[in-house]
Symmetry: C2
Subunit: 411 residues, 2 copies
């Protein structure tokens, strides 16, 4: 039991802020009911957030003849947060106000083979500068920039430890970025960013045990267990894409064979298509995105090859999701990521059937499987949320452990 | 965030008691340091446990010229706890004092095909009565009986929901047992019992993220994540034995194919032996226990067939454990259960190698794999710990949610 009183206080502070963001304006009484904390604790935490300028008092509501209750809301003008989704095929940056409403966006294309860290860093910095300029926000009002990169990250050190699709090893990403950007910087990966976005704003709100499965070039699972993000001992948890589905199956770039990612990731789906129909016009040899989009259109048009590829993929995916159901017994599995968004409802329907064939009855009966309901990019939203959490931790009382280590030099 | 202040208080009460059990006698100051709770909170919880008679004051220690510090210890004479490990091949009951020291033991053999609930219940009741008699404890001083049965259980309802090796479905085990026994009864399964035993007394003490793998007739994984037992939404988490290792592989009694259990459970190991050497004298067709013991002896003697079977099993097990490393990123994996105890160090060494071949580098570097270090039966110890927790919850202030529903009628 290493969770200290300070950790619990920080977690409670996030919890209160999360509920205010979700339901502004809100009374302390409603916050106490929503969080399970005592009214005294909530009043104390709200006082702290008011003192920091993150919340403002916005009036009163009647309470059935009792004393009117004070309402608080997020102080949207307190500052801006930026979230950046760096993927194998694109960079997407968004600037948010403190209600996590998007105020500006910037996009850049990336090719999977353009994997030079200096080049990727320059593009991230350009996207961030672009949203700051578009929104007309002074640099010192940006409370933080959250950056999500695929693969395993050392968030405290700001290092991309291993990004298999780029073959990156120990790239000191935040140190490089700090040479371009004056803002506090926070690093994590898309699994965890998606998951936090679902917990704050999406399907996992109020759910204790949820798994957010990210289907893209790589695949992985963000684990929200017991109401909090499960990071594991070295922040590497969630590498469901590199669990074995077919012992001695397709070789994987991680060095293993038969990994889930080799069947459920975009290149794995392309391989299934190639095996089923080597000359299919759906195949765009240079483009995963184009191929998956062609499959999506093919599904809509009832193309038999597209239907067969999605059915086969759902069978693989269903077995691998049944593993999560049986092992973790979650209330909810959210299918997120661009592949899930592109193949949408038809994939969901096939996946639900395939999971039902394989999972044990009791956990299956308690698990809902849904598509990500967040209308914007959940990864940049989640990355901005990490920046908000980091900013809260760094301004809070004496919480050194979670303060951002990487703060850029003023430009 | 549904964890209420009351849940946190109950968890803290267990945490304090766990540290007193581990390090009796102990001062409030040491408990505060060990648990991360404030001294005021610890003093409060210790006061409560003293009031309940679970702890006693046992003197003072000097504190470097300051005021002498009061020491507390577990009140071993307050009452007795009983833990029962019901397995496919045996029933093992132990009676403990409140320091969780064994005071009496009883054993009964079971054959996997003797699966009539009434018969199993009668044997459990006989084993419990035997340890009570042997220890000479009055029935009303037994604070609780914890029973562990394989498979999925509804602990609040006291029901064995599904025990695949016995083909039990919805057996109301505690209601049946309450007809024989006058004590408060608590139900759970060996995965969770082992895990709690490791957290309180074994390799997982002080570890935030640990997985306790139970290798027996069935296999499964108890998940201690973030310092607490992860149960999942319907108390079904941990069915790692029913995750897919070989898509479309060996048929499993759960209805799926290629499950980990079909390769790593005792019957799976026997099948591997049969495939490699159909006429091996190591094979005892009627007895899993005898076969695994023969394999253990064969290993010690360098029998090539035994070596090959364990090597092959370790390869399966290594892939399935690498999945846990990659997905959960634990600090520790403990190999528990009778198969692990019987095959011991040679199996451990092979498994460590096989995991290293497959797991991702970063989580692998942070995971230790060990054999269960608990010298007695960890399942009955863990089951008794559940009885202790249940007894604490039921005597504590207004905690209805976790109080035992099944209290036997006085006999």
């Amino acid at each position: 039991m290493k969770r200290t009183s300070r950790d619990i206080r920080t977690a409670n502070r996030y919890g209160v802020l999360r509920h205010v963001v979700a339901a502004s304006p809100v009374s302390r009484q409603e916050l106490a009911a929503a969080t399970g904390l005592s009214l005294a604790t909530v009043a104390n935490l709200v006082g702290e957030l008011l003192g920091l300028g993150m919340l403002v008092e916005v009036g009163f509501e009647d309470s059935d003849g009792g004393r009117p209750r004070g309402l608080v809301a997020v102080n949207s003008s307190k500052g801006a947060l930026i979230g950046v989704d760096v993927a194998e095929t694109y960079i997407h940056a968004e600037l948010f106000d403190l209600t996590l409403t998007v105020r500006a966006r910037a996009d850049a294309e990336v090719r999977p083979e353009e994997n030079d860290p200096a080049e990727v860093v320059a593009r991230i910095a350009a996207a961030v500068s672009s949203v700051v300029q578009q929104a007309g926000v002074a640099a010192d009002r940006v409370l933080g920039v959250g950056v999500s990169v695929p693969g395993q990250v050392d968030r405290e050190g700001g290092v991309s430890v291993f990004a298999p699709n780029w073959d990156w090893h120990d790239v000191p990403l935040l140190r490089l970025l700090a040479e371009h950007l004056p803002h506090p910087l926070h690093l994590d990966n898309p699994l965890r960013a998606c998951t936090v976005a679902e917990q704050w704003f999406g399907a996992a709100r109020g759910r204790d045990d949820a798994v957010v499965v990210n289907l893209g070039t790589g695949v992985g699972a963000g684990l929200a267990l017991g109401g909090t993000l499960h990071r594991g001992v070295s922040n590497s948890a969630g590498e469901w894409g590199h669990t074995t589905l077919v012992l001695d199956g397709r070789p994987c770039h991680c060095g293993n064979q038969g990994c889930v990612e080799g069947y459920a990731g975009a290149p794995g789906i392309m391989r299934t298509l190639r095996e089923l129909s080597p000359d299919s016009p759906l195949l765009h040899p240079d483009g995963q995105t184009a191929t998956i989009e062609a499959l999506g259109r093919g599904l809509a048009e009832g193309d038999p090859v597209a239907v067969k590829v999605v059915h086969t993929t759902a069978r693989y995916l269903g077995a691998a999701l049944a593993d999560l159901v049986n092992l973790l017994n979650p209330e909810l599995i959210v299918l997120s990521g661009w592949v899930a968004a592109t193949l949408g409802e038809p994939l969901l329907a096939e996946v639900r059937e395939a999971v039902a064939v394989r999972a044990l009855r009791r956990p299956l009966a308690n698990t809902e499987i849904v598509l990500c309901p967040i209308p914007s990019n959940p990864v940049s939203l989640g990355a901005a949320t990490f920046a908000l959490e980091g900013s809260l931790a760094s301004v809070g009382p004496k919480n050194r452990r979670t303060s951002p280590r990487w703060r850029g030099t003023p430009v």
